[in-house]
Amino acid sequence: MAHATHRMSRELKTDILQGTLDLLILKSLEREAKHGYAIAQTILESSYDMLRVEEGSLYPALHRIQHKGWIKAEWGVSENNRRAKYYKLTPAGRKQLAAEEENWARLTRAVGGVLGYA
């Protein structure tokens, strides 16, 4: 019994993380198209160096989100004149971002409420 509960909580955890990663990626693409490295850098910098997205999670996530139709990829030329793959939000991605931001806000409000910060 204990074993089963443990497994469930672990799955829950990765679910939240995955959803959050998707949100972070979408958000970082809100203003402009970026290549993978820039996405990781943006997230790192805007999180005050708190959130380091591992490459091992980033690229699979990018491919996954791309298949969902929220972002699309194009090959372009990078700032140092190298061929790089640029990702940009699709209209569906923009809607998804809005929805997820809303969700996140509700969640943090709720957690804040529980913790007595409201």
Binding site: G36, Y59, R64, G69, N80
Partner: protein, 861 residues
């Protein structure tokens, strides 16, 4: 939409691969640049970047997996990889393919037969409503059948029928035809309509005056070249002209084979007297109303039967009625054999699985390095297991396909090996889509069964636990040995039984005796007088043929087509419960067949129909009812004692196997054919002719003599006694051959398995053996060490196998002749044979180990 984009990704997978690479190397480059900017040395910058990135292959792998349909492409990849890896090890691949193809092939073949014979619905409309209804004695009198039809609520329609032979004359040669004699409702019950013409009318069955006949499709094609104008033509059957009124469709040629083991040529209406209750010679087939099942009909008819039981004479009570679905009834005789064979081939397949699992485990040892390399290159463990399983399934899938190909050859072979008429519904046995599906499903399952443990094992990187491999392999050897022993014991029992059956004296001579059988049409031979005259004149003519030593006549030929049994009563004794054969014979029958006279005399020319009625009994009857006293002169009757037809015992002869080779002794009371009272016991007769040379040399001359006496009489059958013996041995021979073949297959597989494990063990321990040799271990010690481990599992398997054999061989009981299913000799010899082979299989590799020079062995690492 998501699946579409994934599908596109799959189709573009080649390009995607390079794109991953480009994207990831760009990422690395960017990182390296930032590191440089942060002040690292170029070398350090690159290393940090790479280090930070981690395992590139794994990232790529995960990207690929996030592309959804990746399993298709990775399956293709695995398949290609599997093909390559199997080609690299042809010895393994060929062994495994061979073992699996045989295993899956024989299973598919047996399944094909079982499906056609037992599982497929009969090719008749609403076949599930058709049942056979059997009485307590197995057959029905006309009165019984009529009452059954009148009383039952569950029966929609019912038909009584029987079979027989008829003589077709009027053309050049008289010809023996197989006929079905049926009530007109027969066609309604089965749901069969004539393809040409019409079925019988009820009137035709009441008085039979119209003289009609319906032809079977095959006979129509053979004899009338499928000419439609045959309707309305007259043919002469048993001396009577009958009008052809119909031709059955090809499909309907099968129903007669359901009951008689062969196709009837013609169908004629049965003329039944509703009050006739003395002779029970009819079978009953019925169609149940749609809302009744066979079980419900059984319950209803049993209740009716129990009520009627009270009005019956004591010796006819309590037999019970049995309602059996036709589909089941048709397969009844062969059901047990087919299930035993299915069990046997399933064991063979399991042995093949254990064997290949073992070979895979041996390979797993060799491939651990390959797996480790692939794992360090980023392949996850489930991925590796999947790849190895793909290899196994690839192997078994190929074997499944080959097995089906094998089926096109083995199924006809099986049907050809089977004695004629033993396997019903041959037309329904075919290799088709369902068989293909069965075979592929079986091979898929097989691949997973034998592939799972080795692949889990091969991908286990923790070397400390690798030692378990030896346990697993030992267990597989033990299982293989146990299963093989069960098959060996089964085959051993059948072989011993067959040997006993063939060597138990038949009680008559087999060499130089020809038999010629005729069936006298009772429309022409209406009384015993012309029958007697016919037999007498043929015997007289045959005796004077050149090359003939002696000739006799018997109404039921040993191992022949018919044998009547009944009760008998000894004067002055109470009725006994023995059933005896009642053949009538000519005086020379015993001498011709070399059946020995033990007391009294044979029949002779004085035993005519006007003389005192006499009988000769067999030894078993004399011993049982007279003991040490002399039976000669005692009187007995084969009829109701009240009728007062007493026969004097004039002689005692040796017992013979009358019914079949698998009989023990068939007690008989012989009477002279000159004194036989009933045409019923005389209308089939066989001449037995002892010749100086080859028995079949006089066949043509004998046939001519019969033709001279009655030009319209066809020959029923001509066969030497040896041929009769062979025919009677055909079924047991078929069963024994099949099971022995499967056991031999199992033995070969098991010895390959044991050899493989032993050889692998030796190759693994070459170094250790070298050390031991260098430290002074003798050859015997090495042999003991090397073989000991292996043999421990073999003996565990033997013990398990003996227990299994004791538990399982009971299913063979019905096939055994004078052998108990737990025959000690067989249960002793089978393990001995298997141990000998196991010893040899483990000795050969061990001997190689012993001959290795210590110095070589030590350098081996």
């Amino acid at each position: 939409m998501e699946w579409l984009s994934r599908l596109i990704a799959l189709l573009r997978s080649k390009r995607l691969e390079t794109e991953y690479d480009d994207e990831l190397s760009f990422h690395l480059e960017m990182k390296e640049r930032d590191n440089l900017a942060a002040g690292m040395t170029p070398e350090r910058a690159r290393r940090e970047a790479a280090l930070h990135f981690g395992n590139q292959t794994r990232v790529r792998e995960q990207c690929r997996e996030s592309n959804g349909f990746s399993w298709v492409s990775s399956l293709l990849q695995d398949l290609l990889y599997g093909v390559r890896s199997l080609r690299k090890d042809p010895a393994f691949t060929v062994t495994a393919l061979l073992a699996l193809t045989l295993g899956i092939g024989v299973n598919t073949a047996i399944f094909t037969v079982i499906r056609g014979v037992m599982l497929l619905p009969l090719p008749l409309p609403k076949a599930q409503q058709i049942v056979m209804i059997r009485s307590s004695v197995g057959s029905w009198s006309p009165k019984g059948a009529y009452e059954l039809a009148r009383n039952s609520r569950s029966v929609e329609s019912l038909a009584a029928f029987t079979g027989g032979t008829m003589a077709l004359t009027g053309n050049a040669e008289p010809r023996q035809l197989w006929s079905m004699i049926v009530a007109p409702s027969f066609f309604t019950v089965l749901g069969v309509k004539p393809a040409l013409g019409r079925p019988f009318t009820d009137r035709e069955a009441i008085d039979g005056s119209d003289g009609v006949v319906i032809l079977n499709d095959e006979f129509w094609r053979a004899a009338f070249h499928a000419h439609p104008a045959v309707i309305g033509r007259e043919i002469t059957l048993d001396g009577r002209k009958r009008t052809v009124i119909g031709v059955l469709p090809p499909l309907a040629s099968q129903p007669s084979s359901y009951w008689f083991g062969r196709t009837a040529d013609i169908v004629i209406p049965a003329v039944l007297d509703p009050n006739e209750d003395h002779n029970a010679y009819l079978q009953v087939v019925a169609r149940l109303k749609t809302d009744f099942t066979a079980q419900q009909a059984q319950a209803e008819l049993s209740a009716i039967d129990a009520e009627q039981d009270r009005f019956r004479p004591a010796n006819r009570r309590g037999g019970g009625i049995h309602v059996v679905p036709l589909q089941q009834a048709v397969a009844q005789d062969i059901r047990t054999l087919l299930l035993v064979l299915l069990g046997a081939v399933a064991l063979v397949l399991l042995i093949a699985c254990a064997n290949i699992a073992n070979l895979l485990l041996a390979r797993a040892g060799a491939r651990r390095r390959e797996m480790a390399v692939r794992a360090s290159l980023g392949a996850s463990r489930p991925r590796l297991i999947r790849q190895l399983l793909t290899e196994s399934v690839l192997l078994s899938g190929c074997s499944g396909l080959l097995g089906i190909v094998l089926c096109y050859w083995t199924v006809p072979l099986l049907l050809r090996l089977a004695p004629a008429g033993q396997i019903p519904r041959i037309a329904d046995i075919r290799v088709d889509g369902a068989v293909l599906f069965f075979s592929l499903a079986l091979s898929l399952l097989t691949g997973v069964v034998f592939g799972l443990a080795p692949s889990v094992h091969a991908t286990r990187m923790n070397m400390a636990r690798a030692g378990r491999s030896r346990n697993l392999r030992g267990f597989l050897v033990a299982a293989e040995v146990a299963l093989t022993l069960v098959l060996l014991a089964g085959a051993g029992l059948l072989l011993k039984s067959f040997y006993r059956m063939m060597h138990f004296p038949t009680g008559f001579e087999r060499e130089h005796i020809l038999t010629v059988t005729v069936a006298l049409p009772d429309r022409i031979y209406t009384t015993t007088v012309p029958m007697r005259r016919f037999y007498e004149s043929v015997l007289e003519r045959v005796r004077s043929l050149p090359g003939v030593e002696s000739a006799g006549m018997v109404s039921s030929l040993p191992l022949g087509i018919q044998w009547f049994r009944g009760d008998f009563t000894i004067e002055g004794q109470r009725p006994n419960d023995w059933m005896v054969g009642k053949p009538n014979v000519s005086a020379d029958y015993f001498r011709t067949m070399a059946i020995p006279l033990l007391r009294g005399r044979f029949f002779d020319a004085h035993d005519t129909n006007t003389a005192q009625p006499v009988a000769i009994i067999t030894e078993s009857i004399a011993r049982r009812f007279w003991g040490d006293r002399d039976p000669i002169g005692s009187r007995l009757t084969l009829d109701d004692p009240k009728d007062g037809h007493w026969l004097s015992v004039v002689g005692v002869v040796g017992d013979i196997k009358q019914e079949k080779l698998a009989s023990h002794i068939d007690p008989q009371v012989y009477v002279p054919f000159q004194q036989e009272q009933k045409t019923f016991f005389m209308d089939v007769g066989s001449f037995v002719i002892r010749t100086r040379q080859d028995a079949s040399s006089v066949a043509e001359a004998v046939r001519k003599q019969i033709q001279t006496v009655d030009p319209d009489l066809p020959i029923y059958e001509t066969a030497t006694v040896q041929e009769l013996v062979d025919r009677s041995a055909a079924s047991p021979r078929f069963e024994t051959r099949l099971l022995t073949a499967f056991a031999a297959l199992a033995l070969v597989l098991a010895s390959i398995g044991i050899y493989g494990v032993a050889a692998y063990g030796v190759s693994q321990r070459t170094h250790e053996i070298g050390v031991r040799r260098a430290l002074g271990a003798g050859k015997a010690d090495i042999l003991r060490i090397v073989m000991g481990g292996n043999l421990r599992y073999v003996f565990a398997g033997l013990t398990l196998g003996i227990a299994g054999a004791v538990a399982v061989t009971r299913v063979l009981a019905t096939f055994l002749y004078e052998v108990e299913p737990r025959d000690p000799l067989v249960l002793f010899l089978a393990p001995v044979l298997l141990s000998a082979i196991a010893l040899l299989a483990s000795y050969l590799p061990a001997r190689k180990a012993v001959t290795v020079q210590p110095s070589v062995a030590l350098r081996y690492e």
